[in-house]
């Protein structure tokens, strides 16, 4: 199934016939009896896993099954931030892999995901934070992640609307990643879906997994609302519901599902070109291409599967952002929403083999899932294809909890993002 290429020329050609000639972006097939690999979850991570399975490892007899609509989970609910300024080596490696893949993703997928490396900065508002971010800069420089420390006046130049002389927490500088930024979240899922479909993979929506079939400790297939599907390997990539799927497969994960919220203002003309995170006061904000100020804060502290968070987080984060950006006080909040995130024991993700042979999990991205999609898919594809983790996934195994070998990023980022 060849992909009909998108281009300015193609749009112009279609314009003449009122766009009657466009094909489906992805097919909607019925499930086959068996696949080499079944991926549960057609979010960004699941679709990216499928894409790199095909592109890098030549495995295309793949189904991606999705209980709702593709990209409808956290992929379509986040604040679209992309960065890789992580402190610990394993995190920096996988997030930077993701970020670098984002650089070319539009061209690679022939679908404009609008990756916008507009620059991202994390404000330092205490001595302690300043030391933490400087440490991160030094670590990043050795990790091949381009970040630098910038002064308050450089912050002000980049973000004229920021109040650097806040009465409570003056800005002491910032950790700046010039090639961090945002992308159009839905387009990432759609672009991967289109490319997977073009490789002959089946994306099966409205198909809920109801059971995992195993024999002698090895996976055989899955039961779904569209019937039984056999598989050689099974990849569980269902952020928010990871524990539910693990339970079906017969094991428990170090994960709790919690609500994370985001909200936007009404659209206004451009006033902020970069992404700003103010972790000390728990808030972050960027301005979308549509003009909305996109805001997020912290997660709820209790288990929740409703995709609705608690209102007080909205108040807490908004007040922090008004202190940081006084001009937003008279803007109006247009819409708030929530997603369910996987929070792991050390707040870092899991890409791992499991107690069941040929079942692999990719979960636990917490609040950092969107930015990692291409890297996560790349590493997961390698894990699934080879049966063993490659260097990107090696440190993210489930065994780390037993060994006490945590990947703890809380030093550098105390807030969801």
């Amino acid at each position: 199934m060849a992909l009909r290429r998108y281009s300015m020329f193609a749009v112009a050609r279609e314009a003449l016939r009122f766009h009657a000639g466009w094909e489906r972006a992805w097919q909607s097939p019925a499930p086959k009896k068996r696949y080499d690999v079944v991926i549960v979850g057609a979010g960004g991570h699941g679709l990216a896993t499928a894409y790199y399975l095909g592109k890098v490892h030549g495995i295309t007899n793949v189904a991606v099954i999705e209980k709702g609509w593709l990209g409808g989970g956290n992929t379509g609910r986040n604040t679209t931030i992309i960065r890789s300024n992580y402190l610990q080596d394993p995190s920096a490696a996988i997030y930077e892999k993701a970020r670098s893949l984002y650089e070319d993703l539009s061209q690679d997928l022939n679908y404009n995901v609008m990756f916008s490396p507009r620059g991202l900065l994390m404000l330092a508002q205490s001595e302690h934070e300043m030391r933490g971010y400087k440490r991160t800069v030094y670590a990043n420089n050795l990790q091949g992640v381009e970040t630098r420390w910038i002064t308050p006046s450089e912050v002000k130049d980049l973000v004229p609307i920021v109040n650097i002389d806040g009465p409570r927490y003056p800005v002491l500088g910032a950790l700046y990643q010039e090639r961090g930024g945002t992308a159009r979240h839905d387009a990432v899922a759609w672009g991967y879906a289109r490319a997977c479909s073009a490789m002959g993979m089946d994306i099966i929506q409205q198909c809920e997994v109801t059971g995992v079939r195993t024999a002698n400790g090895k996976v055989q297939g899955v039961e779904t609302t569209k019937g039984s599907i056999d598989c050689g390997k099974l990849a569980i990539v269902v952020a928010g519901h990871s524990s539910v799927l693990a339970e079906m497969a017969g094991f428990r994960l170090p994960i709790e599902s919690m609500a994370l919220q985001a909200w936007v203002s009404e659209p206004i003309k451009p006033c902020m070109d970069v992404v700003v995170m103010a972790n000390l006061v728990h808030g972050y904000m960027s301005q979308s291409d549509k003009g909305e100020m996109v805001i997020g804060g912290g997660t709820d502290g209790f288990n929740n599967y409703t995709q609705r968070g608690s209102w007080h987080h909205v108040e807490e984060t908004t007040r922090a952002l008004i202190e940081t950006f006084p001009i937003i006080s008279r803007l109006k909040m247009l819409r708030q929403w929530g997603g369910i995130v996987d929070m792991t024991g050390d707040r870092s993700p899991i890409l791992s083999k499991t107690p069941v042979e040929n079942v692999f999990v990719n979960c636990g991205w917490g609040t950092g899932g969107f930015k990692s999609i291409p890297g996560s898919g790349w590493a997961m594809a390698e894990l699934v294809a080879k049966g063993e983790p490659g260097p990107l996934a090696a440190d993210f195994g489930l065994n780390r909890f037993k060994e006490g070998r945590f990947i703890d990023e809380s030093v550098a980022a105390g807030v969801a993002h």
């Binding site: 539910v244 428990r252 994960l253 994960i255 709790e256 288990n303 409703t306 608690s310 007080h312 037993k402």
Partner: protein
């Protein structure tokens, strides 16, 4: 924005007066425990989509910890009880069984 009733104070308070504390009825494993038991104690979580037993502290009130049975899919609260127990009260279990007949039990 949840409301829960503190079993010590007898008042129904909102979430902002409380601090959540994760899964309840975990058995502590200390020195001498196997790696598996210790890992299970610290990390393996039921995290059910449904009835969940969990810890809350009446942080802005009496300061006491209490336990709650709550549905994570609907946020219905079946009941709260003091933390000084190793298992949920029988009448609470009966109530949940009545409301959620297909529930798998608290263990």
């Amino acid at each position: 924005m949840l409301t829960l009733t503190c079993p010590y104070c007898g008042v129904t308070v909102e979430e902002t007066e409380l601090a959540p504390g994760g899964e309840a009825h975990l058995k502590r494993f200390g020195p001498g425990a196997s790696d598996e038991d210790f890992e299970g104690y610290l990390f393996a979580r039921k995290n059910p989509k449904g009835v969940h037993f969990e810890r809350w502290r009446h942080a802005y009130g009496c300061g006491k910890w209490f336990l709650a049975a709550r549905c994570t899919a609907t946020l219905e609260v079946f009941g709260t009880y003091p933390a000084q127990t190793t298992e949920p009260p029988a009448e609470l279990i009966a109530k949940i069984n009545e409301k959620r007949p297909n529930w798998g039990g608290w263990k």
